[in-house]
């Protein structure tokens, strides 16, 4: 098994509050790593460390190192890093433009101008995101007209269109109905072969359905990380068990 991302002793602060405490973690190539834990335990903050989106916040500070393919991410050009590590946010955020333009937006900025090539990317990404059949006839319509579930899959397609290696999902189904949720989950499982996926979710069952391994975060600390089976059958930490069985959080 190849380690895609290695996190060594990561500590994060907003102003003077520490929100991630000495975190060690490896993310393996072509796995779906599920991250569960109660609200405010630092899951989102962790994801946004991986693509350095936290750097936008002037109050954010961090220490420790994150290696991608063995290389410290701070030495990778920011645009390249973010192209290689894509992100799907909790709320589907379509840009106020057409479906087609939403998907080609990133690719165009990365220098792809050829119309044929762009159309190819659009189709390929939409197929991978299991949205192609639903929208193929109306690519020029505003993306905001799609339903919530469709928009979230559009966001996935948009991320795929810039050809990432890793995709970070931050509670991608929190605003969706069960049917859309099932579609998004199916999409994620299909993506597993080609991409490395990190899925933050507040839904323990979803983590169980989709992930190969699961990490449990609590108050900024990684309590335990194990295969999905082991963590549910014999959690080694009392707090994990409490959380999984719904005794808190």
């Amino acid at each position: 098994m190849v380690v895609k991302i290695q996190v060594n002793n990561l500590n994060c602060w907003f102003k003077n509050t520490q929100v991630i405490k000495s975190l060690f973690l490896s993310i393996l190539e072509h796995e779906i790593l599920g991250i569960i834990g109660p609200a405010n335990s630092g899951k989102t903050t962790f994801l946004r460390c991986l693509n350095r989106l936290n750097d936008l916040n002037p109050h954010f500070k961090s220490k420790g190192e994150i290696l991608k393919d063995g290389r410290n991410i701070n030495t990778i050009k920011l645009e390249t890093l973010r192209q290689e590590i894509g992100m799907v946010f909790a709320m589907p955020i379509s840009l106020p433009m057409s479906i087609y333009d939403n998907i080609t937006y990133g690719a165009k900025q990365h220098g792809i101008k050829n119309k044929k090539e762009l159309s190819g990317i659009v189709e390929e990404s939409l197929v991978k995101a299991s949205l192609w059949d639903e929208v193929k006839g109306r690519l020029d319509q505003p993306a905001l007209q799609l339903s919530g579930g469709q928009q979230q899959r559009l966001c996935i397609a948009r991320t795929l269109a810039v050809q990432p290696e890793v995709i970070l999902f931050d509670e991608p189904c929190s605003g969706l109905d069960p049917i859309s949720t099932a579609k998004v989950e199916e999409t994620m499982i299909n993506l597993k072969d080609k991409y490395t996926i990190v899925l933050v979710t507040n839904n323990v069952k979803q983590a169980a359905r989709v992930s190969s391994r699961i990490a449990f975060f609590l108050m900024g600390e990684l309590v335990e990380i194990d295969t999905a089976n082991d963590i549910f059958v014999k959690p080694s930490d009392r707090r994990t068990e409490d959380y999984i069985t719904g005794r808190f959080g």
Partner: protein, 281 residues
């Protein structure tokens, strides 16, 4: 007196006071329309002045004002937008930013006649542009900078932060994010701000007094390095410097100036309604 009665009296008083503010505005508009409407003919708008400006039309003043205003907005708009981009997208919360903000507040409060003096000393004399359209336009451009920066900044601020995050998370650079996502979505607000500043500077007199405006020019402007007649200055001239001016012409000039400003302002209101319907997120 019971509190209820005091309240009644107080409210009525406040209402009357508001009318005191309200009525003169209507009076001004009313008198301009009733006395100036007769002058609004094609001939008045599209012909040159005659008989020492006591007859004929005011075409050169209209053209001059439009020319100055268009020049100045095309200078001030890009600069103002970029300045707002800096403040809203790049600037950190530090001393420099605070000094910039203080400067903008002060620039907004500098009296218009001081801009006139500055324009004279800097553009007309030092840069040797002479009394000309371009010198006046540059002077007005500095003057409208604060309002363009402020309105642009507000509309940039109204673009959801999530749009920026999405774009950045796709590996798009900061400037391209601003260029492709932030600015297009802020455009309605920027446009309305721009038109509003056009309306404001179209009526300014003091800043162009020594930088662009001419008492009388017998032809339409040929280039930007010429002096031109301008509506507000023309109104000043014909209402104070020329004896026996026919009333119709002064009122007509004033009415056209006000109409120009009001049409621009109404465009803004309509644009605002239009965009409010189209853009909701």
């Amino acid at each position: 007196m019971s509190p209820r009665i005091t309240q009644k009296i107080a409210f009525s008083l406040l209402f009357l006071v508001s009318l005191v503010v309200f009525i003169p505005v209507l009076f001004i508009i009313g008198i301009l329309v009733s006395k100036g409407a007769a002058a609004l003919t094609w001939e008045f708008i599209f012909s040159m002045p005659k008989d020492g400006m006591r007859g004929g039309g005011i075409l050169p003043a209209i053209v001059g004002t439009l020319l100055i205003v268009l020049c100045s907005i095309s200078i001030a708009l890009p600069v103002g937008i970029l300045a707002a981009v800096y403040l809203n997208e790049y600037a950190k919360d530090n001393l420099l930013t605070r000094i910039i903000q203080l400067s903008i507040v002060n620039l907004a409060g500098v009296p218009s006649i001081i801009y006139g003096l500055f324009g004279l000393a800097f553009f007309v004399i030092m840069l040797n542009l002479g009394v000309s359209v371009i010198a006046g336009a540059l002077t007005l451009a500095i003057m409208e900078l604060p309002s363009i920066i402020t309105t642009t900044r507000n509309s940039l601020n109204n673009v959801p932060a999530s749009f920026r995050e999405v774009s950045l998370s796709l590996g798009v650079s900061r400037w391209q994010t601003i260029r492709r996502v932030v600015l297009p979505n802020a455009l309605p607000g920027i446009m309305t701000g721009a038109i509003l500043s056009i309306a404001r500077i179209a009526g300014e007199t003091a800043p162009i007094l020594f930088t662009a405006a001419a008492f009388y020019v017998p032809h339409l402007p040929h280039s930007l390095s010429e002096q031109v007649m301008a509506l507000p200055y023309h109104l000043y001239v014909i209402s104070t410097q020329i004896p026996n001016m026919p009333e119709k012409i002064t009122y007509g000039t004033a009415l056209i100036l006000v109409l120009l400003v009001l049409i621009l302002s109404f465009t803004v209101i309509i644009l605002r309604i239009f965009f409010r319907k189209r853009y909701k997120w």
